[in-house]
Structures are given as structure tokens and as C-alpha cells.
Symmetry: C2
Subunit: 134 residues, 2 copies
Amino acid sequence: MIGRLNHVAIAVPDLEAACAQYRDALGAAVGAPQAEPGHGVTVVFIALPNTKIELLHPLGPDSPIAGFLQKNPAGGIHHVCYEVEDILAARDRLVSAGARVLGSGEPKTGAHGKPVLFLHPKDFNGCLVELEEV
Amino acid sequence: MIGRLNHVAIAVPDLEAACAQYRDALGAAVGAPQAEPGHGVTVVFIALPNTKIELLHPLGPDSPIAGFLQKNPAGGIHHVCYEVEDILAARDRLVSAGARVLGSGEPKTGAHGKPVLFLHPKDFNGCLVELEEV
């Protein structure tokens, strides 16, 4: 069911420093910061030959990653995103298998403008999983 | 400098349950467990179309992931692995940029039989980074 790994998201306390590090020390192709006020984050995509790293930094007072950075002040790997062809079919299969979908259970529009869902990390080995329909 | 994302490693407390979940609920291609006593882990590779997920479970008394699972009993994303063409050149560039290499600073042979190094997570936004020469 799951397809490509769309991205790995890393929450960072200092977006400028993280961008400089990936660009200068790791020599990667770092994109421009994109404010996503609807999602409470500023994102920077780092293009690797086969997938992307998504740097996440809180934006606004109700950022969904503020709590993560309080618990992990240095930052940390926040989630992985797997691509699926049909997000509603994927959701129904996962719910049947006992997994919990975060929020209302209905897909939202993600940072790429595609429908996304998040699965409860307690159901996936402590790993927050995003599904994105492509 | 960094190339492909070789894998994302997820430490899991129950390897059999994690394999069943990725195979049955997420519908992924889950490999057979491989004991790696030299690394203190049992690994299972999950093949995605563009990269791999590496499930890690402690093996033996001195497993390098035992402490991680003590802090994160449900499991969690443990590290990301980026491919590099020349691991010594990569190391020297990173050390010049102020990053710390874990252990002796010399590459070891990783689970794929290739030279690997780990970078200090405090230097990379709380994210443990493995470099693998390919």
C-alpha cells in the first residue's frame, strides 16, 4: 500500500542555522523558506536525489511543533511521510487494522497542496507517520 | 556532498509486531530479520520504491540502541543515513565545519558492509546522522 518515502521532517529550533548547515557542511540543495500559516510552520525543503528532507520551524502561537521543540530543545526527527495512491482507502485499511488517525480522521490539505493524514505514533513504534495522496 | 537518503532507521521494542504492522497494515515489502551481532542489533529492511526503512531491535547486552529504547519505550525514529561518495573527504569537510564524529572518528563497516560514520546529533538539530560510502 505505501509507496515512496515522500520526506523526512526534522523540527529545528534555528531554521537559518539548520539551512546553513545542510547547505554548507552537508553540501545539499536547500530551498527557500516557505511560510505555511495554515499549518503553523515555516518549511524548508532539502532536495536529495531520491527524496526530500523537510525542515520545520514553528510559525505563530499555535504551531503543532511547538510542543515537540519544548520536549526536544535541540530539535529532532519529527515524522516520516509515505505516499499512498488513495488516502481514504489507506485510512480505512489502517483503521480496520486498529491504527488511530489523528484529528477528525478526515484528510487535510498538506504543505504540498495534497490530502494528508497523520497516524498516531503510539500505533507505529513511536514514529509519527504522515500519509500523503499523490 | 550528501547524495541519496539510504535509509531511515526506526528503533522498535517488538520486532515481530513492527514487521507485521508494516507488512499487513501498511502493505510494505518487509525483509527477513538479520542478526548483526557485531553491531548489537537485529535489523529488518523494508523496501520502499525510492529508499528503505530499517527497523532496529537490540541484540545482546551492549546494544547501542538499548539506551534509546529505555528513553523511548514505544520506539522511535533513531537516525537517518545519507550516502556519500568519499567518506573520508566527507568527514574532513564536516570536522572543518565544526561537526563532531562519534567514536574514534574512523569509519566502521556498517550493516551493508560499507564504511559508515555517525555524526553527533547535537550538531545536527537533534538528529543522529549516519554517512555511508557507496
